[in-house]
Structures are given as structure tokens and as C-alpha cells.
Symmetry: C2
Subunit: 516 residues, 2 copies
């Protein structure tokens, strides 16, 4: 293991995060860019102190490891990826923690506990969107923007990692990308990591700028436009508003639906678009299957809302009549929000009919496209599992017939089949174990009446980076009431799910650390 180089890269990450904190403090307090509203000296000091601390540690890590070999093997790369999120969350949590301790009036604020801050910061960097805050608006705006900035950074990191970096290392979904790219460029998006990464940056930043402008035109102020855009393109789901997106009108909600979808599809497809081949999008198996699932599920949700509910409770607490347009707006918003693993809410789906909730839980597991900012199993794996099961059924009664499983024009080899089934089963096993574990830890929690719906959806909502679940972690509830051990488990689940399990799980296998 080349620990020196890993540490030097982590030092660089700390420097980047510190710089962004510094810039944010400058924009807020130096330029007064968002007006005088909600300026809080403690938040400013917390940001500046965290930036300084991060910079000192980062420079230290960087300087102390200079001059080593600058190569990363497969195992080093996995360790670096895992540590980027695990240690990055430590630094990103610092502003919350310092703010709560600097301000004497926040004696009972959740951010007084570092575990809470770490949970919130991991939830940000993994684009999950689960929060420990009951009253979000009690936190100064500068910290709330930092909170949404962590999602934007996390989303960018994931896209670059999964589309540009990992495929080049032969880790993860490399083969999937190869298969999914029809036409002459069978070799993945691009041969050069740097070029691909730059392209993804450009796409990501362009989507962000476009959405901010459209949100502003739709009537939101700069702060709401920027903060919500950060968590939309990252499919994160943090909102600086207590009522989440339910506080805005239908126009803004529709804009967010569109950009959640844009964040939830494979970023490699934008490469095809930029090369002037829009038709290839239509031929993409995963994209087509994603829309089939989204339309089918939305229809079930809308139908059961119209049939079984006269009124819908909005996240602001108001109720609206279940007219067809209302059912469609909130049904589609929630379907897209959960499937892309954003987790924004406009309505309290905790009170929705069983079938609508069952569809949402299916979306929690499925997630969006591979190579997007969304989490979960990913639509392409769901598709593959179905194809493999069908071929296995035929093999039972016709073992002599060998019919290859194909996606687009590529054949799925046995290794990829095994890897896909193992991945999905791995998610299910981790889900089963942790849902029981969370229940057992919290069964005597004095703040809530524990039920399995809560522990099960809390597990899946963190593992698949959704954010809200059902029961006590529903869209108008929060995660603040969990005990510290549960919050640590869920922070780990977020990292596990975000990095597609293996980058984290391998750290726990002795063989990973052996030098042979």
C-alpha cells in the first residue's frame, strides 16, 4: 500500500474543502451577496475556523508525504475513495459543530453533538438528504448553503468517480459502460481520464447554471435558487426550507422534476448528446427501462391517490383536494424524487395509500441510472437481473440450449452476471441485517414508538441515499431522534451505498490489507 500518496491526495481534498468554505464565508459576509437576512457572526466564525483548521491539516498531510511514488494501484484507489468520503465528512461537519458551540443560545441544538454533525455532513457528501434537524430554518443561511454545497460537491465527485476514474481502473461498472455505449466508441466514454473528467465537470456545471437561472426566472430569490439547484442536480434532497419543495408553486416543482431526471440519468449519455448523436439516447436500454418504470409506477401512485384519498397533506402542513392535476403533480414529483434518490418532498407520502408507498419503496431500491448522481441498485442492474433470471429459468428445462444474455448489442459475460446478482443480493442482505439492528438499538428509545417500517425504511433510505423514508423517518420527520450508535451505522450505510458497497466492504476484509 502506497499510504504516502493516499495521504497526500487526502490532504489536497482537505485544501479544496477549506477553500470552498472560505469562499462561501467571503461571498456571504464580505460581499453580502444574499443580503443582510440571516447573517450570523457565529456561523461566519465557524466557517472561517473550519477552513483554517482544514487548511492546516491538509497542508500538513500534503507536505509530510511529498516525494513518494505517484502511482495508485487498484487497492490504493479503493482506499483513497473510501477515505475521501469518510474523512471528508469529518471536515465538512466542522462548521455545524463549531457554530453550535460558539453560539451560547444553542445549548440544546442537535449540532452540539459531533455525531449529529457527522451524520448531516455524510448525508450531504453522499447526496442522501437525511437530516437530524427538526427546525432547518433555525440554522443560519450561510451554514445551510454549505449544507447544500456538500451535496453538490458529493454529486460531482460521484459522477467523475464512476464515469471517468473507476472505469479506467477496471473497477465497478466499467463493462456496463462499454456495453451501454453503442456505435464505434465501444471503449467507454473516453480513453483519457482527465478529458472525461473535464467534460463531466462542464456538463455538471452547465446543468447547475441553467437550473439556477430558470429557478430565478420562476420567481425564487438567489439563495433559494442556488441552494435548491445544488441539491437537485446532485439528486441530494437537502432543502433550506422546513417545508422542502412543498413551499413553492407548481412551476418550480416541475422545474425540479426535470432537473432531478437530468441528474438521475447516466452522465455518459451527455457525451453522446454533445457529439451530436441525440438518437443514441433513445436506443439506450437503461434510459428506456427507467422511463418505463417511472411511467408505470407513477400511474399506480396517481391512481391510488385518486381512488383512496380525498385530500393530500402538503409538507407545509396545508391540505389540498386530490384533483387529477394535484394527484399528477405530487405523484410524479414524489416518484421522480425517490427514484432519482433525491428525497425532496412536496407531500407527506407517509399518509399515502399502501400501493403508492410500495411503489416508492421499490423506487428506493431501484434508484436511477448507473453513472448518474443517483444511488440505489441502479436501473441497469434491475434490467440485468430480470434478463438473467429469465435465462436461468429456461436453462432448467433446456440445459443444452445456450442463449446469451444481451444488452444493446453486447453479450453479458458470466463474471458480470455473477457480479450483478451478488451486488443486488448484497444490498438485500445488508438491508435485512441493518433494519433489524436499528430496531433492536432503538426499541427502547423514549422519543418514538419504534416500528419495523421505520427501521426498514431508515435503512434503505440511507443505504440507497434517498433521505426520507416512512414512519418516524417520513418526509416531514427527521433523523435527530436516533441514538448515536444508530447514526454511526447509518452514516456508514450512506457511504456503503454511495460507493456501491464494495469500496467500503473490502476495507473490512483481512485479505484487502495483506501485502501479497
Amino acid at each position: 500500500m502506497n499510504f504516502r500518496y493516499i495521504i497526500s491526495r487526502l490532504g489536497l481534498l482537505f485544501l479544496v474543502l477549506s477553500t470552498i468554505m472560505l469562499v462561501m464565508a467571503a461571498v456571504f459576509y464580505g460581499l453580502h451577496a444574499f443580503g443582510e437576512h440571516g447573517l450570523d457572526p457565529h456561523a461566519r466564525n465557524a466557517l472561517l475556523m473550519s477552513a483554517t483548521l482544514g487548511a492546516i491539516v491538509g497542508v500538513g498531510m500534503w507536505l509530510s508525504t511529498r516525494g513518494g511514488a505517484r502511482t495508485l494501484g487498484r487497492r490504493e484507489a479503493m482506499l483513497l475513495v473510501a477515505m475521501s468520503w469518510i474523512l471528508g465528512a469529518f471536515l465538512a461537519a466542522m462548521p455545524y459543530f463549531l457554530w453550535a458551540h460558539l453560539a451560547p443560545e444553542h445549548l440544546n441544538h442537535p449540532f452540539r453533538s459531533y455525531v449529529n454533525c457527522y451524520f448531516e455532513s455524510m448525508s450531504g457528501l453522499t447526496t442522501t438528504g437525511a437530516t437530524v434537524l427538526a427546525d432547518i430554518e433555525a440554522v443560519p443561511r450561510s451554514l445551510l448553503l454549505w449544507r447544500n454545497m456538500t451535496q453538490w460537491l458529493g454529486g460531482l465527485g460521484i459522477v467523475v468517480l464512476f464515469v471517468a476514474v473507476l472505469p479506467s481502473l477496471g473497477v465497478g461498472a466499467k463493462k456496463l459502460y462499454k456495453l451501454e455505449m453503442p456505435g464505434p466508441t465501444k471503449e467507454g466514454v473516453q480513453p483519457h481520464i482527465r478529458d472525461t473528467a473535464r467534460l463531466l465537470w462542464i456538463v455538471y456545471v452547465s446543468l447547475t447554471i441553467v437550473q439556477i437561472i430558470i429557478m430565478r426566472i420562476a420567481g425564487l430569490d438567489w439563495f433559494d435558487s442556488i441552494a435548491h439547484t445544488f441539491s437537485t442536480v446532485a439528486t441530494g434532497g437537502f432543502s433550506p426550507r422546513n417545508g422542502s419543495v412543498g413551499e413553492f408553486g407548481a412551476a418550480v416543482q416541475i422545474i425540479i422534476i426535470v432537473f432531478m431526471i437530468l441528474g438521475g440519468i447516466n452522465f455518459a449519455l451527455y457525451y453522446q448528446l454533445l457529439r451530436g448523436r441525440p438518437l443514441l439516447l433513445w436506443r439506450d436500454t437503461e434510459l428506456r427501462f427507467l422511463f418505463v418504470l417511472l411511467l408505470g409506477g407513477s400511474a399506480l401512485i396517481i391512481g391510488s391517490l385518486i381512488l383512496h384519498r380525498d385530500e393530500l397533506v402538503i409538507t407545509t402542513g396545508e391540505t389540498v383536494t386530490t384533483t387529477v392535476p394535484n394527484a399528477m403533480l405530487h405523484g410524479v414529483f414524489q416518484a421522480v424524487s425517490i427514484m432519482t434518490t433525491s428525497g425532496f418532498a412536496t407531500a407527506d407520502f407517509n399518509a399515502w395509500p399502501f400501493l403508492a408507498q410500495a411503489v416508492l419503496v421499490f423506487y428506493m431500491f431501484s434508484g436511477g441510472s448507473a453513472g448518474s448522481t443517483s444511488g440505489g441498485i441502479k436501473v441497469i442492474r434491475i434490467w440485468l437481473v430480470l434478463k438473467i433470471l429469465l435465462s436461468e429459468i429456461e436453462r432448467i428445462f433446456r440445459p443444452q440450449v445456450i442463449r446469451p444474455v444481451k444488452i444493446a448489442k453486447g453479450t453479458i459475460d458470466t463474471d458480470l452476471k455473477l457480479g450483478t446478482l451478488a451486488y443486488v443480493l448484497g444490498i438485500i442482505i445488508i438491508f435485512a441485517i441493518c433494519s433489524v439492528l436499528l430496531f433492536v438499538i432503538e426499541q427502547n428509545n423514549p422519543q418514538v414508538e419504534m416500528d419495523y417500517t421505520t427501521s426498514a425504511t431508515a435503512t434503505i433510505a440511507t443505504l440507497c441515499t434517498i433521505g426520507p423514508g416512512l414512519g418516524q423517518v417520513g418526509p416531514v420527520e427527521h433523523y435527530g431522534w436516533f441514538s448515536a450508535p444508530s447514526k454511526i451505522i447509518m452514516s456508514l450505510l450512506m457511504a456503503l451505498g454511495r460507493l456501491e458497497l464494495f469500496a467500503i466492504i473490502v476495507l473490512f476484509t483481512p485479505r484487502f490489507w495483506r501485502t501479497d
Copy 2:
């Protein structure tokens, strides 16, 4: 497809079932073998009429198809197996149905509906043990013995099928058996189906006779001894008593624990025992893992009972103090009963702590050994899945290292890996879909307040041939309140699970019926 030969074999099955009905009527009413208690002329007539009807249809099927080719291909064998259970349950349901219609006082009895009778009869032949009866003892003893006889027959059929017949056809778990038989006889239990089948018959009948005698010595009357033995060695779980095994003392409960285990381990192992190689049992991977799971889970159950419950509710309605011996007796009984997929109950585990219930639900999925009368995923597959996942995790960071997955001394090939993962995922997918489906069908059922615990455990308790679940299908509840569509779905689930999915699922694929 050689339909003629399939129909002739099904005709033979009808003749066998009819003969057994006839013998039972003769033993009960001709010889008065079980005394005068509970003799009911309507039940006698129902048995005789069903036997006659079955015999006529059976002879007709047999005669009308004489002279055809007497060979079965793979697809024909699968069709025959599926039809044996699906059509066999039609005939086995007949005595219940006729009895309810012959007796004028049974206007509101569940058996007035053929769907209920079919559910009960499928539950018997698949050794599930789920019942539509709220008051079991209101049914005459002769019919109750027939009910338990269906489980005994079903258990025998499954063992012969999965240990003797299918491996010889190269279907199903053939490779597993090969691997699991250490020593020189690597070629499975025996090369000749007939010899193996006869050996299994002998083992099964011997276990039955021994248990009947021990139960009789322990103080039960002949009827209770025979009826309970029938459903113990078959790991079925039907009891002719309303209070199930909770009505008996600790001695009888311990005897039943032992024989449930004997029914839940691979019958091919008895072959090793008979050949004087008891040590090979100890080296059997699946058997060892079964005991590890059983001991670990029982410890969790017993511990949580002692910690969280002062009293245990027995299935008779009485309560006992949670002393350590009581917790151990009922904890181990329930663990063994659920893991072997028997489904007998001594205590109402619906009221047990969450962790104990979670362990029981895990057992519902896992089941006992392959090649036994138990259902579920089977312990060997759980073992295999864990080994495959571990090897897949290592493959992520060391793709160049090829470390074969082994059981005993055999290497698991890729086909078997894929098949195993696909099987387990198949169970989980069917479970997920049907648990939602049952909820949606029953959500307006006026008899119960529907909850997901009920629909989920009803699905798994039928798919894995357990019998009781949790919630409204708990150990002191019943399945009578479900609507007819749900009962038909659950009857199908029992057949699906009993025949290890594929024998039934293939019937729904168009390619199965194509003649190419």
C-alpha cells in the same frame, strides 16, 4: 410432449390417493380402530364418495392412455411433477368439500367453499400446514387424519422426488448432492432410481413407526400419536388439536423437536448412516451449518424472551412464567419448528419480542436441508451465497486472483453459482411482489385490519411451506379470512416453494411449451 404417458401417471396417482382414502375409511369405521369417539357418518360417506370418484377418474385416465411410449423427457418430468401437486390437491380436497355439503348443520363451515378445501389440501400435500380452520376440532377425526395423511404423503413424495428422481434426471440439486456426498460414492446417492426410492421409503416409514411408538409411550393415544407423527416427519405442522402441540407436556414437545430435526435434514445422509459411516455426517457442511444457525438463533430467541417477557402465552391460551427452562423449551421448539418449516406451535410467538420474531422470519426464509421434507431456500444455498459473496468481494480488489468456491472437497462451478444466486433472488422477488399483492387484495377485507406484517409473513409462510406467520396469520390465527383470490395465489405459492420454484414457473414460459 408425451401427454399420454403423463396422463397415465396422473391416473395412477389418483388411484393411490383413492386407495388410501378407502383404507382410512375402513380403519376408522370398519375396524373402529380409534374407538367410537368422533365417528361421523357424513365424513365416512365423504371419504367413500371421494375414493370412488378418484378411482373412476384415475382408471379412466389410465386406461384411455395405455399403449403409448413409456419415456419421460426433462420437460415431461417437470410437467408431471407440477401436475401431481396441482391436480392431486383437487382430489385430496374432495373429502372436506363433500363432508361440509353432506352434513346439513355445517351451513357456514369454511369447507363449504371448494377454494378453502383446495387451500387446505394444497397446504397438506406441500407440507405447509397453513389452515383455513378456526375450530379444527369441529371437523371429524377421520377427516383430520386424512388431513395429516396428506402431509405424510406430500413429505414422502418430496423426498423421493428430490433425492431419487430429479437428480437422476439431472434436474435441480443434482450437483449439490454430488458435492455433498464425500467418499468414493461421488455419483450421488445411488445410480438406480428404484433402489434409492425404496431406501428412502424404508427410512421414512421407519422414522414414522419409531415416532408413533415413542409418542404412544409418552402417553398420547393412538390417534394423536399417529396424526402428529404424520405431520412431524413430513415437517408439515398440521395438528388435529386447536392448541397445536401446546396442548401436550414437555416430554412430547421434546420428542417432536427431535423428529422435526430428523425430518429436516438431508435424507441422503441416512444412506451414509445405513452404510455404517456415521462419521461422514459430522463432515457434512450443510448439517454443521444448520446446527450453527439453529444454536445461534435459539440463543437469541431464548435471551430476548428472558430479557423482555415475564410471561409466555401458550397456544392453549394459558400463560406460563418465563423461567429459563420454559424459555429454552418454547424457544428451541419454535426455532426448530420454523426452521424445519414444520410450523407447529407451543407458544404464541406473535407476542414475542422483535428480535425473536426477526430470527424466526430468517428461519422462514432459510428452511432446513436440501433433500429433506423441509421447504424454504435451504441451508446449503444460504452457505453457498455467503461463500460466493465473499469471493466476489475479493474479486473486486484482486480480479487476477481466482480462488475457487468449494463445498467439502468439490468446487462449485459458475453455472451452479449463477443458479444458486438466481434461486435466492427469485424467492425474494416473488416474496416482494406477492406480499404487496396480498395486501392490496385484502386491504378492504372487513374481517381484519390489514397490515404489511400479515401479508409479508403470509407470503413467506406459504412460499416456504411454514404454515403460521405473524400478525393476522400468527400461530393462534388462521387463513380462513382471506378472500378466494388470495387463497388461490397462496395455493400457487405453496406449490411454487415446494417444488423449488422452477417446476411451476417454467409452466408459465411460452418456450416451455414449444416443441422445437
